[in-house]
Amino acid sequence: MSNVPENLRYTESHEWIDNENNQAIRIGITDHAQAQLGDLVFVELPNPGDEFDQGDACAVVESVKAASDIYAPLAGEVVAINEDLEGSPELVNSDPYGAGWLFAIKPADPADVDDLLDAETYAQQQED
């Protein structure tokens, strides 16, 4: 069973969202997603300052197997990226909710977070 931390929000496309600092909301992919993808070998991140609408393809994670788009869970501006992933993309596998975060955005409307899935709903979706 994959790990789904209680304190995060989720999307149906397997991104997680950490709302602890609503000026720089961290985004990554879930434990379930990294396990499905297999060993990650390359992560293509947006540039700080890029702006996205909700649902825009904004990053790419590539495993040995395949490339997968990452979709912006919220509209907003990229304010930070995880530069460690350039040299160590495997951090997404080993620590998907910690050192394997992808990027952080400043949301256009912080209230949009409330529309995302909570942990229980996301976990339920995995079981269906």
Binding site: D39, V41, V64, K65, A66, A67
Partner: protein, 362 residues
Amino acid sequence: MAQTTPLHAAHVAAGARMVDFGGWDMPINYGSQIEEHHAVRQDAGMFDVSHMTIVDLRGDGARAFLSRLLANDVAKLQTPGKALYSCMLREDGGVIDDLITYFLAEDFFRLVVNASTRDKDLDWIRRQAGAFALSVAERPELAMIAVQGPRATEKAARLLDTDTSQQALSLKPFNAISDGDWFIARTGYTGEDGFEIALPADVAEAAWNTLAAAGVRPCGLGARDTLRLEAGMNLYGQDMDETVTPLESGLAWTVALDDDRAFIGRQALERQKVEGVPRRLAGLVLEDRGVLRHDQPVHTAAGEGVVTSGTFSPTLQRAIALARLPTGDAGEVTVEIRGRQLAARVVRPPFARNGAVCDGVL
């Protein structure tokens, strides 16, 4: 309903991630594909290749038949146990499949063909065999395990009795021995030393468990693909198919034209040689960061090409590929990845074998 091999339950019990592969439910990895890859380059790994098709040809006409069927020359097989890699071709030179032929006795040859092409291969073989004195028999009751890596043969030897293991360990590359229904060949698809072992299906799981206890790591089709690509070995259906000839697929070395055999496809290949082979299969190493993938467009000074197999190479820590390029000086090469042109270098495969990066690749 997907087909399963005699080792299916062992894969599931080991926590393998299973995928459909040409109608077979097969393990893609048992956790980390990259760790499995390194295990084969550095120590020993094993693959369930029971989905591959073993076809036995028996009869006095077997050698004459193979002389017609194969683009490589079966006359190279003079010592029992010797193996030959070859393509079988259509009349127009297109590749129907690549296969290994083992010479077991003058009236007994064994073929191992790809699982994904089983039906059309058997159909073609039976159709062409009509005029020759031989029988064609598939051997679905045999399982097959490939044990590969620098320590593979010593670990696999404990499956065998003393006498057989001594014979197996003294096999030269591309040679095989039989022991009843067991068949041990010093062949593989990884660029490492090792055995491919055919054995009765009902003892396959016990053999698999013995190998695991000896420290041989179970490896899935994912690692099999990155290992064969590093070793510069073609995958049928990706790097060649019925629309290209072996001369366009880096397989000219498997085509024997310096004899007078009337093999199927010979005229087409000779014509292509006279007219000029328009395309070639080359190796690419990506200079920029990213991952090369099947079907990405390649831009060269000689025209447009395409990636036929691409991956991230765990040994090189770079993206590598086989690509079909127009013949001629490629000049500066770029690969189009998600709309961007990334620089790549043309190299001569293989990329890595025997635990190390090959000379001139990096």
